[in-house]
Amino acid sequence: MADLWLQFVLTIDATLRVATPLILCAMAGLFSERSGIIDISLEGKMLMSAFAAASMATLTGSPFLSLAGGILVSVALSLIHGFACITHKGNQVISGLAINILASGLTVTLGIALFAQGGQTPFLNKSERFTDIVLPFAEQAEHVPVLGTIYKEIISGHNLLVWVALFSVIVTGYVVFRTTFGLRLRAVGEKPEAVDSAGVSVSGLRFQAVIIAGVLCGIAGTYLSTAHGAGFIREMAAGKGYIALAALIFGKWRPVPALLACLMFGFMDALAARLQGVEIPVIGHISTDLILVLPYLLTVILLAGFIGKASPPRSIGVPYIKER
C-alpha cells in the first residue's frame, strides 16, 4: 500500500514535469488565439528555442543566457508569423506550418554546423542547466506521513521553470481578464472592427499578442533542453506543441481550464511511461499507445460537441482589413 502511494505520488510529480512545456505553450497559444491569430507554430517555436537555449548554454555556460537565447529565437519566429499573417494578411495555418517545418530542418542543419554531433548539442553539465530546487526541510519532511511525501516529492525538487510555468497561468488569467490590455486583446479576437473604431491599432495588439506567445514558447523550449533535458536532441518537441494546442482547445481558450487540460494530458503521458510493460492485476497489460492517443481523441470528441462545446474566438484566422 505504501509502495502504491509512493508510485502515485511519483506519477503526479512526473505529471508536473511533463506538463510544464504544455502549460507554457498553451498560455502562449491563448494569447495568440485570443487576439485572433491561429498559432499551430507552437511546436516549431518550442523546438527552435530548445535548440537555441542548449546552444547558448554550451557556448556561454549560463542557464540564464540560454533562457534569453531561447526567448529571443522564439520571438523572432513569432515576428515572422506576425509579418506573414498580420502585415501581409497571409494564411495563418500555412504560416504556422512553414515555421514548424523550417524549425525541424534548421535545428538539425545548424546543429551539425555548430557542434558536428549529428544535430544534437553537447551534453550539458549541472552548472549549465536549470537544476532542481530542493525546498527547505524537504529531507526532514520525508518522515511525516502523506503530507511529508507530497511536500518532498511533488512540491519540492522542481526547477525554476516549472514554477514559472505555473506562475504564467496566474499572470495570463490576470492580464487577459483583469486589465485594459486583456479586454482589448479579447475584443480584437472577437470583433476587431470595434477595437479599430475605438482608435486602437488592431495590428499593434495582435503583434503584442504573438510576441508574448513567442516569449512563453521560448521558455517552454528552454525548459525542454536545459532544464528537463540536458542538451538538444533532434525533434525533441515531439508533438508537445500540438498537444498544448489540443489542451488550449480542451480548456476552451481559458487559462485555468487549459491548465487542467495540460495536467490531464501530462498525467496520461506520465502514466503511460509508468505502465510501460507493467502487469496490472485483473486488467493485465495496458497498451501505452492507447493511453498516449487519448489527448488527440478527446480533443476531437470535444470539438465535435459531444462533451460540451468549444467555440473559438469569433474572428480567429481572419486577417483584419481596415475599411476605407
Binding site: S95, A98, G105, A113, L245, D289, A304
Partner: protein, 369 residues
C-alpha cells in the same frame, strides 16, 4: 490596381517564380552562413537529382509521392477546405494495402491481390479523410484541428498494429511480414529493360503512371464536370450551393473523401512499389510536403506536377548532400521546404505591390494601360 488587373502569366507564372527565388535565396544565405558555398551545394543537388546514373528514376519516384499528396491538398482547397491530414490518410491507405495483401496473398493469384490492393489504398485513405469532413460538415469542428489530431491518431494506430498484431513473427522492428512474391507494382526499369532499353535501376514504378492519371482525373473533375463546378462554388459560397439545390455538407464530405483517397494512394508508391511490407513512418512527411506542392502549383494539376518534380529533385538531390558535404545533410531540404511554404504560401503576395507598380509603370508609355 490589384491582382485581377495583372495578366495571368504574372499571377500564375512570375509571382510563384519570384517566391521560389526568395525562398532559395534565404536558404542560400543560411548555407553561406554555415560556411559552405550555396552554388556548389545547388550543383551537387542538381547532379544528384538528374545527372547521375539512375538519379532521374529516383527523382520521379519521389515526384510520384508528391503528386498524390499535392493533388489531395489541392482538391480540398478548391472547396476552401484545408486538409493537413494527408500524412495520416497516407498511413491509413498503406494500412489498407497491407491488410488486403496480408489476408489474401496466400489465397488469390498475385495479380488479383494487387488489383484489390490499389482500390483499398484509396478507400482507406478516403475513410480517414471523410471522418474529419463529416465532423466539419455536421458537427462544426474545424477541419484543420481535426486533421492534425487525425494525423496523430493514425500514427498511434500504426504503431499499435505494427508493433502488435500485425508485427511479423520473430521480428524485432515494427513492420509486417513481407508480401508474397509477385505482389508489387511493376518497376519501370524492368519493363523498359524487357522492351530492350538499357535503363539503370530505380524504384520508379507503375504508381507514377497512376499519379499522372490521377492528375488528369482531378483536372477533369474540377474543371469539366458539374460536380467540380459545385465543388468550386461551395468553396466560394456555401449559400450558392444551397441555392443550386445541393447540400454543402455532402459536398464537403465528398471532397474530403476524394482528398483522402488521393493521399491514401501515395502508399501505393512506397508500400506496393518498393517496400512490399508495411513499415512504420513510410510517409516520412510527404503528406506535409503536399501542402507546399499544392501551394506552389496553385492547385492546378499541371502546376502540381511541376512543383512535385521540384520537390522530387530536392529530395533526391538532398540525399546526395549527405555524401558530398560534412556540414550539410538532407535536413537542409526540410529547411528549404519550410521556406518555400512560407514564401509561396503565407507570403504569396509579398512581391505583388512591387510587381504591380513596375508593371503599370511599364504599361504607361504605350498609353493603353
Amino acid at each position: 490596381m490589384n491582382a485581377s488587373s495583372l495578366p495571368r502569366w504574372i499571377d500564375i507564372g512570375l509571382l510563384p517564380v519570384l517566391n521560389l527565388i526568395a525562398a532559395l535565396t534565404v536558404a542560400g544565405v543560411i548555407i553561406a552562413i554555415i560556411g559552405e558555398n550555396p552554388f556548389v551545394a545547388m550543383g551537387v543537388m542538381i547532379k544528384g537529382a538528374f545527372v547521375y546514373d539512375g538519379a532521374l528514376g529516383y527523382t520521379l519516384f519521389y515526384t510520384t509521392n508528391f503528386i498524390f499528396t499535392g493533388l489531395a491538398v489541392a482538391v480540398a482547397f478548391h472547396a476552401m477546405l484545408f486538409n493537413i491530414g494527408g500524412e495520416g490518410q497516407a498511413m491509413i491507405g498503406g494500412l489498407g494495402v497491407g491488410l488486403v495483401v496480408l489476408f489474401l496473398d496466400s489465397v488469390l493469384p498475385p495479380l488479383l491481390v494487387v488489383m484489390l490492393a490499389v482500390p483499398a489504398a484509396a478507400a482507406f485513405g478516403a475513410v480517414w479523410g471523410v471522418i474529419p469532413g463529416w465532423l466539419q460538415a455536421r458537427r462544426g469542428s474545424h477541419i484543420v484541428i481535426t486533421t492534425i489530431m487525425f494525423n496523430f491518431i493514425a500514427s498511434s494506430i500504426m504503431v499499435w498494429l505494427l508493433a502488435g498484431m500485425l508485427m511479423a513473427p520473430g521480428q524485432m522492428s515494427p513492420e509486417t511480414r513481407s508480401f508474397a512474391d509477385g505482389i508489387n507494382l511493376p518497376l519501370v526499369y524492368e519493363v523498359l529493360q524487357m522492351a530492350g532499353f538499357s535503363v539503370s535501376r530505380s524504384p520508379l514504378n507503375l504508381s507514377f503512371v497512376i499519379a499522372l492519371l490521377a492528375c488528369f482525373g482531378v483536372w477533369y473533375l474540377i474543371w469539366r464536370t458539374k460536380l467540380g463546378y459545385i465543388i468550386r462554388a461551395t468553396g466560394h459560397s456555401e449559400r450558392a450551393t444551397i441555392y443550386a439545390g445541393h447540400d454543402p455538407a455532402k459536398i464537403i464530405m465528398l471532397v474530403m473523401a476524394i482528398s483522402g483517397a488521393l493521399a491514401g494512394m501515395m502508399s501505393l508508391n512506397e508500400i506496393l512499389g518498393v517496400q512490399q511490407r508495411v513499415i512504420l513512418n513510410f510517409t516520412s512527411g510527404y503528406g506535409f510536403t503536399g501542402i507546399a506542392v499544392a501551394l506552389m502549383g496553385r492547385n492546378h494539376p499541371i502546376g502540381i506536377v511541376l512543383a512535385s518534380l521540384l520537390f522530387g529533385a530536392l529530395y533526391q538531390g538532398g540525399a546526395e548532400l549527405d555524401f558530398e558535404f560534412q556540414t550539410i545533410t538532407r535536413e537542409m531540404v526540410l529547411m528549404i521546404q519550410g521556406l518555400i511554404i512560407l514564401f509561396s504560401g503565407a507570403l504569396a503576395y509579398l512581391f505583388m505591390p512591387a510587381v504591380v507598380r513596375i508593371y503599370s509603370s511599364l504599361r504607361k508609355p504605350t498609353g493603353s494601360g
